[in-house]
């Protein structure tokens, strides 16, 4: 299995390289290669995850290593789904290196074995993890779309059409993709929080226990809720929407890692070493 993890990382790395060369040389064949390699990496990754699940009998998020593997897998999956939906070739230049980075970090962290506890075997937990991770992956892509939007907007506004202007698609498309990512991400995150709350009730007997992770997740959720609300009512779009998508993702990263390392809480064991 260890070999397969390495092979998966290799595919992702080559895919990132392919997309990078595509960014520079603009040859379609490079983009197709990058996409194909990512697909291959994702297939290997899926096998790794399935095997880990089968072997331990639990959804593989018991330590930081497995959590990161899951995060990488969700990002790759969401990216592939979105590429299928939008023909946005340049997006890989953000997603592929991100996935590669997550995977490289995953292979570097120590693998603390966690003993199985009965609270891991729960339908709500599985739902909670899948929806949260997929939602966060979609929000990561929304952040990428935001970064691209800001780059392109700057080029058009300042009238200095540099390296990215030619390579990036139109503002409207970037804004639209970012918005779709936000809606999908927000919906999944909402489901994730609801299933998490139900799970908390079934395990600890309380829906909400003011755990730091819960609080920060609530803050993240509220931020995205405000962003979407403003967009729907007064039409917050473009630059402002892009900046908030990036800030939202930063807060989400803090909720994901920062809370575990800096604050205490019941998620700690999954993401700390």
């Amino acid at each position: 299995m260890e070999t397969l993890v390495v092979i998966t990382c290799g595919f992702y790395f080559l895919s990132a390289a392919g997309y990078l060369f595509y960014l520079i040389f603009q040859k379609d064949v490079l983009q197709r290669a990058g996409f194909g390699l990512l697909l291959a990496g994702f297939a290997g990754h899926t096998v790794v995850m399935a095997f880990a699940w089968y072997q331990s009998g639990h959804i593989p998020v018991r330590n930081l290593y497995e959590t990161l593997l899951m995060a990488g897998w969700a990002t790759a999956g969401i990216f592939l789904a979105f590429s299928h939906r939008f023909n946005l070739k340049i997006f890989g230049i953000y997603a592929a290196p991100l996935i590669t980075f997550i995977m490289l970090v995953a292979t570097q962290v120590p693998r603390v074995p966690t003993q199985a506890r009965p609270i891991f075997d729960n339908f709500w937990l599985v739902m909670h993890i899948f929806t949260i991770f997929l939602g966060e992956a979609a929000l990561a892509l929304a952040c990428g779309a935001g970064v691209f939007y800001l780059l392109q907007e700057r080029a058009i506004k300042t009238k200095h059409h540099g390296f990215f202007y030619k390579r990036l698609p139109s503002l409207e498309l970037l804004d639209g993709v970012g918005y779709t990512c936000l809606i999908v991400g927000f919906t999944l995150m909402t489901f994730g929080l609801i299933t998490g709350i139900i799970y908390a009730k079934s395990v600890w007997g309380r829906f909400w226990s003011w755990d730091p992770k819960e609080v920060w997740a609530g803050i993240t959720w509220l931020l995205y809720a405000v962003l979407l609300h403003e967009r729907l009512t007064v039409g917050w779009r473009g630059r402002r929407s892009a900046i908030l998508a990036i800030i939202g993702f930063a807060i989400m990263l803090f909720t994901f890692f920062g809370v575990n390392f800096l604050l205490k809480g019941h998620h700690g064991i999954f993401t700390r070493f």
């Binding site: 392109q152 202007y165 139109s170 503002l171 779009r237 473009g238 630059r239």
Partner: protein, 422 residues
């Protein structure tokens, strides 16, 4: 051997006054081609004439005579003395002529490098020449090669990628903002050649509606009719800011026609959908501060000119790649052209037949149980005799009396028939 000769003048060698005098109408082109057809020294000919160049492509065995003939015909057809344009003429032979026609077709020799019309113009000229039956195997092949080289240059380099006119540059910018113009509304304020050109480009991009505002309502009505749009009164412009997406402004007003506050107010109503101002007027119509509002983009004439300048620079860089492709194609074509001499063709033919016989002998021998050296020598002798006898008549035909008219045709056919160029 037929030589390829190109004789012509272009924007690089002749001023517009001279080009005007030389440019041939389509009737004159046909007459000139007819003259060439009946001339013994000109085997094949193609004439093309655009506003930037007049070029005559000739295949002939006697270059000097052919060149003289071309000059005389041109002078005769336009009724001006040869001396008036002789200095502006360039004359290319064989390899240089091949390279020149490739460069022209690929739009590397154009006034605006990368402009796409020239290829179509050459295709038309070639069509006329084939209809007049003045084009033959040599020029046919040359022109077809030129078309494919031009296509290669266009697809493999970015020579035609970016707009080099103000109005096209504005459209390209719009595409970077909106993606597609489907469902977008355009407001034209004022009138003017560049602004109207931009609107015409936009019409071809399936915009939803074109609204025209002009100080004189009648003029606005006339323009609106031309663009299939509708006219509004000049004072209504501001009110329409909430619904339109692209504003092209080109009025003669001394001050700003649209201020920052007016746009800011409309942005709220339009729920921040992007607004793109193209300000072609001098002095400017749109307050430059508008560009600082979010989701609003203002490009004035200087900005657009800057974009165009950058694009031209890009094209020049891409043209270098194009030259490389052309050099490659020129060398290839030159080889083929030179192979149209008699001796190389006969040599190639001999080699082809020898190879076939050799292969067959080997094939047959491998199924036998080996033969003696004498027997093998006998086979070799048979091979030599066979090649000699098979080639006897074709050699005489190609070398002497058989090709009374045009040897190129028969050489070309021979090469094709036996697949000598494969």
């Amino acid at each position: 051997m037929q030589h390829i000769i190109l004789i012509g003048l272009s924007h690089k060698t002749a001023p517009v006054e001279l080009r005007e005098c030389i440019a041939l109408t389509s009737e004159e082109t046909i007459d000139t081609l007819a003259d060439f057809r009946s001339h013994p020294d000109v085997r094949e000919s193609i004439v093309f004439s655009t506003c930037n160049r007049v070029e005559i492509l000739i295949a002939s065995q006697n270059s000097a005579n052919a060149i003289q003939t071309a000059k005389t015909f041109l002078a005769h057809s336009k009724r001006i003395p040869v001396e008036r344009f002789e200095d502006a003429l360039y004359i290319h032979h064989d390899e240089a002529a091949i390279r020149h026609i490739f460069r022209v077709a690929s739009s590397l020799d154009s006034m605006m490098v990368g402009e796409p019309q020239i290829l179509g113009q050459i295709k038309d000229a070639y069509l006329v020449a084939t209809q007049q039956k003045t084009s033959g195997p040599l020029l046919n092949r040359l022109l077809h090669r030129a078309f494919s080289v031009a296509k290669r240059v266009r697809t493999e380099t970015g020579i035609g990628d970016h707009a080099v006119s103000i109005s096209y540059a504005a459209i390209e910018l719009g595409r970077k903002i909106f993606g597609s113009f489907m469902g977008k509304k355009v407001l034209l304020i004022g009138a003017g050649e560049m602004a109207e050109l931009a609107v015409e480009h936009l019409m071809g991009q399936h915009v939803e509606e074109i609204i025209v505002a002009n100080r004189t309502f009648e003029r606005g009505l006339a323009l609106a009719k031309r663009f299939n749009g509708h006219a509004i009164h000049f004072d209504e412009c501001i009110a329409h800011l909430r619904s339109v997406d692209i504003i092209i402004s080109s009025t003669g007003a001394a001050g700003f026609v649209i201020s920052r506050d007016q746009v800011k107010r409309s942005l709220r109503e339009r729920r921040n959908r992007p607004l793109f101002f193209i300000d072609i007027a001098v002095p400017r119509d749109i307050d430059p501060k508008v560009n600082r509002l979010s989701n609003t983009y203002v490009y004035d004439i200087d900005d657009l000119q800057h974009v165009v300048k950058e694009n031209i620079k890009d094209r020049r860089q891409e043209a270098v790649k194009g030259e490389r492709i052309i050099e490659e194609a020129t060398v290839k074509f030159k080889h083929w052209h030179e192979s149209l001499k008699v001796v190389p063709t006969i040599v190639a033919l001999r080699e082809k037949i020898e190879t076939i016989i050799d292969a067959e002998i080997e094939h047959t021998l491998s199924s036998l149980n080996g033969i003696s050296t004498e027997e093998r020598q006998a086979l070799e002798r048979m091979k030599t005799a066979l090649v000699k006898k098979v080639l006897h008549h074709p050699t005489i035909f190609l070398k002497k009396d058989g090709c009374r008219e045009d040897r190129t045709v028969y050489l070309d056919i021979t090469r094709k028939l036996f697949g000598l160029d494969k």
